[in-house]
């Protein structure tokens, strides 16, 4: 593996029948990421359950309940590596009752694979998956039109699905959509180019994943550095050292940059950018570094260092697209802890602007309750300003979660609009 190989995270959403497990199994198997003892264990279980052949779904289902019921419930993470890239698959269930798991898997993904059965074309579930990909701003969407072997590898069937997809997705904001006709079962256009579909000029799926440009998926323009913790060694060698530790959440910071600390508004210059291996000239997202400043100013966790000529908004009233993740519905007027980068504040849901039916994308402004898996636009008021960017500009500084103080559970995820 070469030293400059990148990491690509992608999500797959799908239900039992659309071949998702077969596709993942094929990617892992053909990249030699399934080990013999794992295959043996799956073979044994398949036999016990009376399945014909090896049931690759067993490989993706980890928990006892999932194996018993034969469904994916939680997000499962899978790993494989090719000579070009390392991949992390967030394998999520496709059914509507698991919307929250799809949202979770989508939150860190560079790419989403949406599977469409060539025989059935775009169905409700396809729309749901595409909507979640756009809501979570997954930079790349790959629509795999699967089971092409069952429609005689017909170009017409393929084009029909593209037409359907483009029609309903025109209202969504998806930056990069590609279509690949595949047969996960037979392997056509998954790892190897298909001999059965010579009319398809594009790359197979794996090659697409290996080569798509992902360096620009992270915002490299608006410099943002949420302070996680302060490093004060107070040792002989580093007596006066005061480093602000954090992970760059956007843009590039350089030694000598004029910076502003928010929310206090104090300004200074970057003196050094430090790592264990030594000083660096610049730091960009998503590097973890420690920054020292020319001036001694009061900074604590939750503050954000930004470049003085490019600041996020400090807002106490924010509008977010909220996905509810908890069994207990949102309580009107209840207070939650809102977590945003390294900053925790108290917050209250002031108003539900509308609720989205994620199958039809219709908006209903009569909604009065937010329950599990609901996606709503809401107005939130916080006790102190949050330093936010629009989620479309920055997935790190544009995202929040709500925690119920009564249970400490994470109850909602929000994207600043």
């Amino acid at each position: 593996m070469l030293d400059n190989n990148q990491l690509l995270r992608f999500t797959t959403a799908g239900s039992v029948d659309d071949g998702k497990s077969t596709l993942i199994g094929r990617l892992l198997y053909d990249s030699k990421s399934i080990f013999e003892d794992q295959l043996e264990a799956i073979e044994n279980t398949s036999k016990q359950k009376g399945h014909v052949g090896v049931d690759l779904a067993l490989f993706t289902d980890g928990l006892r309940d999932e194996r018993e019921q034969g469904i994916t419930i939680d997000v499962a993470y899978r790993y494989f590596t090719t000579p070009k890239r390392k991949f992390i698959i967030a394998d999520t269930p496709g059914h509507i009752q698991y919307t929250r798991n799809m949202v979770t898997g989508a939150s860190t993904a560079n790419a989403a694979i949406i599977l469409v059965d060539a025989r059935h074309g775009v169905i409700e579930q396809t729309k749901r998956h595409a909507f979640i990909a756009s809501l979570l701003q997954i930079p790349h969407v790959i629509v795999c039109i699967n089971k092409m072997d069952l429609v005689d590898f017909s170009e017409e069937a393929y084009n029909k699905v593209i037409g359907q997809f483009e029609e309903f997705s025109s209202k969504m904001l998806v930056r990069d959509v590609r279509f690949i006709p595949i047969s996960a079962l037979l392997g056509d256009n998954v790892v190897n180019r298909s001999d059965n579909m010579t009319w398809y000029q594009g790359a197979p799926l794996l090659h697409t994943l290996e080569t798509m440009h992902i360096s620009s998926d992270i915002n490299k323009v608006d410099a943002r550095f949420p302070v996680q913790t302060i490093l004060r060694p107070q040792s002989e060698e580093f007596r006066d050292y005061r480093g602000y530790a954090g992970r760059v959440a956007g843009g590039v910071f350089r030694k000598g940059d004029e910076i502003t600390v928010m929310p206090s508004g104090f300004t200074s210059k970057i003196k050094t950018i430090d790592t264990f291996s030594g000083e660096v000239e610049e730091a960009f997202a998503p590097m973890s570094v420690s920054i020292t400043l020319e001036d001694d100013i009061d900074i604590s966790r939750g503050d954000m260092i930004v470049r003085s000529n490019n600041k996020p908004e400090a807002l106490q009233d924010i509008e977010v697209m909220l996905c509810w993740l908890n069994n207990s519905p949102a309580k009107p007027g209840a207070k939650y802890t809102i977590k945003h980068t390294s900053n925790d504040q108290k917050a209250m849901i002031k108003q539900i602007v509308y609720k989205i039916d994620i199958n039809t994308l219709n908006r209903s402004s009569e909604a009065i309750e937010i329950g599990m898996n609901d996606i709503c636009k809401v107005k939130i008021r916080t006790t102190k300003p949050l330093l936010v960017d629009n989620y479309r500009e920055n997935r790190t500084t544009g995202s929040v979660v709500l925690v119920d103080d009564a249970t400490n559970e994470t109850v909602a995820a929000g994207m600043v609009v």
Binding site: Q6, R64, A76, T81, K86, T108, K220, S235, T410
Partner: protein, 301 residues
């Protein structure tokens, strides 16, 4: 802008450092669970990087089954001295002596499950609210569903069906008195990533990982090392073999593989060609199909 991207190891490292710093910011009394195995060594190395130039602000906690490889203990003590951090030892032997747990009987008896009680006792006695572990999602199917920040109730139990959703890199470590968290900074690393990182960072690891001559016996499809705890069964025979260990657990249950790999480079090469998972030689995982999930629910590492 093309030069502004990280390679996969740098990205994994940055993620782990971020997680370790979140632990420090969100908890009162975190510890690193240190087994002497490569994964906990890598986590400790990452902690050193995360807080440099400060010292690692956590103690290291070792659950000592008493069935150790002597090499592991020496390695642990040297590292503690080098880092200047505190060591907390939870002793399974003490738990047995105090009657907290009973030794397993029979041929395949191990102290593996007994560790759970010792670990939870140590966590409670030292008022630990976060135990950082080297668990990875690629290791085992139940671990594939594990969160970075994983909640444990006041009995130390894991409820896999009721885990907190974890989105972006916002981690929720809020908990009530008596509860604690397990945090896994290298969740997204594979065995291969760990070896490539050890190679790149030139991290010291115990000699047991390198091929060496050792007395072994063939049991449960792997080479179990001879030790004072080993009782030969009928038909079993001691051999002298050149072996190395892919994982380090108790000396009674950790099987070695025949190998000539005596450098990190050779190990990395060997691992990349392996067709068996590293835990394939761990008899503790073979007891049932959901052995890991069942132990984790009770509070296992």
């Amino acid at each position: 802008m093309s030069k502004y991207y990280l390679n996969y190891l740098d990205e994994l490292e940055s993620e782990a450092i971020f997680v370790l710093r979140e632990v420090w910011a969100q908890f009162q009394n975190p510890v690193i669970l240190f087994s002497g195995g490569k994964d906990s060594i890598v986590v400790t190395h990452l902690a050193r990087k995360a807080f440099y130039p400060s010292k690692i602000p956590f103690a290291l906690m070792h659950v000592d089954t008493g069935h150790n490889f002597p090499e592991t203990i020496k390695f642990r003590d040297d590292l503690i001295e080098d880092l200047g951090v505190r060591l907390i030892v939870g002793s399974v032997q003490e738990s047995i002596d105090q009657g907290r747990v009973a030794e397993e009987k029979g041929k395949n008896a191990t102290r593996n499950a007994l560790q759970i009680t010792t670990l939870l006792d140590a966590i409670e006695n030292h008022k630990v609210d976060c135990a950082i572990g080297g668990g990875r999602r690629d290791e085992e199917k139940a671990r594939a569903k594990e969160r970075f920040f994983s909640h444990r109730d006041d009995f130390g139990q894991w409820d896999p069906k009721n885990q907190r959703p974890e989105l972006w890199n916002i981690f929720n470590g809020k908990h009530f008195e008596g509860e604690h968290f397990r945090v896994f900074p290298i969740s997204n690393w594979t065995e291969m990533d760990v070896w490539n990182y050890i190679k790149r960072e030139k991290i010291e690891i115990p000699s047991l990982y390198f091929a060496h001559e050792r007395e072994v016996v063939w049991r449960n499809n792997s080479w179990i090392p001879n030790s004072e705890f080993l009782k030969l069964e009928e038909g079993e025979e001691i051999f002298k073999k050149k072996i190395r260990f892919r994982t380090l657990g108790d000396i009674t249950i950790t099987g070695g593989i025949e190998s000539d790999a005596d450098t990190v480079e050779k190990i990395a090469q060997e691992v990349s060609a392996m067709r068996q998972t590293e835990r394939g030689n761990r008899t503790d995982d073979k007891r049932s199909e959901t052995a890991m999930e069942d132990r984790k629910k009770q509070g296992y590492f």
